[in-house]
Amino acid sequence: VKYLLLICGDESAEAHANDGCEGWSEEMLSRGVLEGGAGLAPPTDATAVRVRDHEVLLTDGPFAETKEQVGGFCLIDCEDLDEAIEVASKHPAAKYGTIEIRPLLGLPPGTL
């Protein structure tokens, strides 16, 4: 089952932007769990796009103004939710931020 890990944190989490993953990526890659991911530039660099009545509307900033913002993501492939929870809880960001585990919708085999 594939899950997206959304790594979320408040402003204070930005201090950790260049921390790296303390070997988490290496471990999960070697376990065959990690399929990809990246850290994100801060939400102040975000641009939100909407198309309404054929018009492209742009806003500066993230799509929702909340205290916690997505700061990175990882795509993982696990046996089940218990394994995904174990993988997410080992991520260093879990200690200061929040990691949301979102299962991907079932896609036809070979799509991803």
Binding site: C78, L81, D82
Partner: protein, 419 residues
């Protein structure tokens, strides 16, 4: 007679039938529907052919056959059908297109832990607590959605949505259908115990006038705790929880008087306590404690046993209860446990010592606004022979109390002290 047998089988076997069907079909809704069908067929067949020797095996086989019929109609792949037809009990009868004709030819003892799998999955911490409770009642206890909605005072469509959402999450997020492996088990068992204890308390707290379904939650909780204790013989907390429930339940007849008002433990008619339940609870507890792995449920059961085995209120071993609360507050350091400890200490060493502990708690501010803090203080002041201050504290408690039964009790105390 048939109806009685089916009703009995429903109580005893529903959870097992659903749990096994979920395992083999992987489909929670299908499992419930087929289990329901099996009980409907039993009503008809058992009246005609007699009650089978092993109703559980008969029902499981019948439900499985219904599942095969349904899956066939939905043109599910042959591999899945074979899997369901084979199930996991080797000596089971081959699919014959109908219901089992022989009594108990299949062997359901080969899959004893399906209910345990179901309990752990229903109580998975990734599900909201209210969803865990609802799923447990629906799939393990066999309550209908309407009954669960009534028990928790929500509209039926709300409960229906809650159940559907939980089942969808189990499927989409791939919550595994299993008893967690040994290294995760200690962390996950408390979640199962907590759901069962919550169910018990919901029923226990319901007044005599409350809905029968709501009051019945305690009996369901005891039934499930019994199953859990059987299935987890190496977990003394499971036995401890069952013992705790039995020891509380044994006193339920004397908790309220004829006017439905609360009767304190001290004033309860102990001849109305259920001796059989007390004996079973104490025996279960003694056996659990012998493993020397005490936990919060065993300690709470030990406290309940101190009360339940005292022939009269004056014989209560308060020193031991105070010691048990000290132990409990080490394991679960909550202010409510600290308050209960203060009561026990007050009874063992005199109200002045108890008051000192209560005042320390009050000063910490963690229980501000909690009516039992004021009520406990009031009771200790009353026992200490300080009626004026007691009345004042009872007045504070009266303002903070949440149920009519409590308010009635507090007013009565004030009246006793001022008359």
């Amino acid at each position: 007679v048939t109806e009685q047998a089916v009703a009995q089988a429903f109580r005893d076997e529903w959870g097992q039938v659903v749990a096994t069907l979920i395992r083999v079909t992987g489909d929670w809704d299908l499992a419930e529907e087929c289990a329901q069908d099996a009980f409907a067929i039993a009503l008809e067949r058992w009246a005609r052919d007699g009650i089978p020797d092993r109703p559980g095996a008969w029902l499981t086989t019948t439900a499985r056959n219904r599942a095969i019929d349904r899956l066939r109609r939905e043109a599910v792949g042959a591999a899945k059908l074979r899997e369901v037809a084979a199930m996991s009990y080797e000596s089971g009868p081959p699919y014959d297109g109908g219901v089992p004709s022989d009594n108990g030819a299949s062997d359901d003892s080969a899959v004893p832990d399906d209910r345990l799998r179901l309990m752990f999955t229903c109580c998975h911490p990734a599900l909201a607590l209210e969803a865990r409770v609802a799923l447990t009642l629906r799939t393990l206890a066999g309550l209908t959605t309407a009954e669960i909605a009534r028990a928790f005072l929500v509209a039926e469509p709300t409960m229906s949505k809650r159940l559907a959402r939980a089942k969808q999450k189990i499927k989409n997020a791939a919550i595994p259908y299993r008893v967690p492996p040994a290294h995760v088990l200690p962390g996950r068992t408390p979640a199962v115990l907590a759901v069962l204890y919550l169910l018990f308390n919901e029923g226990y707290a319901a007044s005599a006038g409350a809905d029968l379904v709501r009051r019945g939650l305690s009996a369901e909780a005891i039934r499930l705790a019994r199953v859990l204790a059987q299935l987890m013989p190496d977990e003394p907390e499971a036995a401890g929880l069952l013992a705790l429930m039995l020891l509380h339940d044994a006193r339920s007849a004397s908790r309220l008087d004829d006017a439905d008002d609360l009767v304190t433990l001290e004033d309860q008619d102990r001849s109305r306590w259920d001796g059989e339940k007390i004996a079973e609870g104490v025996a279960l507890l003694d056996e659990a404690l012998r493993r020397r792995e005490p936990g919060p449920y065993q300690i709470q059961a030990a406290i309940a046993a101190c009360h339940a085995t005292a022939r009269e209120a004056g014989e209560t071993d308060w020193a031991q209860i105070a010691g048990l609360y000290s132990r409990l507050s080490q394991l679960t350091p909550t202010p409510v446990v600290a308050l209960n400890r203060a009561v026990a200490v007050g009874m063992a060493k005199g109200p002045a010592t108890g008051l000192q502990l209560v005042d320390e708690l009050a000063a910490s501010g963690v229980l501000t606004g909690y009516h039992l803090l004021a009520a406990t203080r009031a009771d200790l002041l009353r026992r200490a022979g300080r009626p004026g201050e007691a009345v004042e504290a009872y007045g504070d408690a009266l303002q903070q109390a949440t149920t009519d039964a409590e308010r009635t009790f507090l007013r009565r105390r004030i009246q006793e002290l001022t008359s």
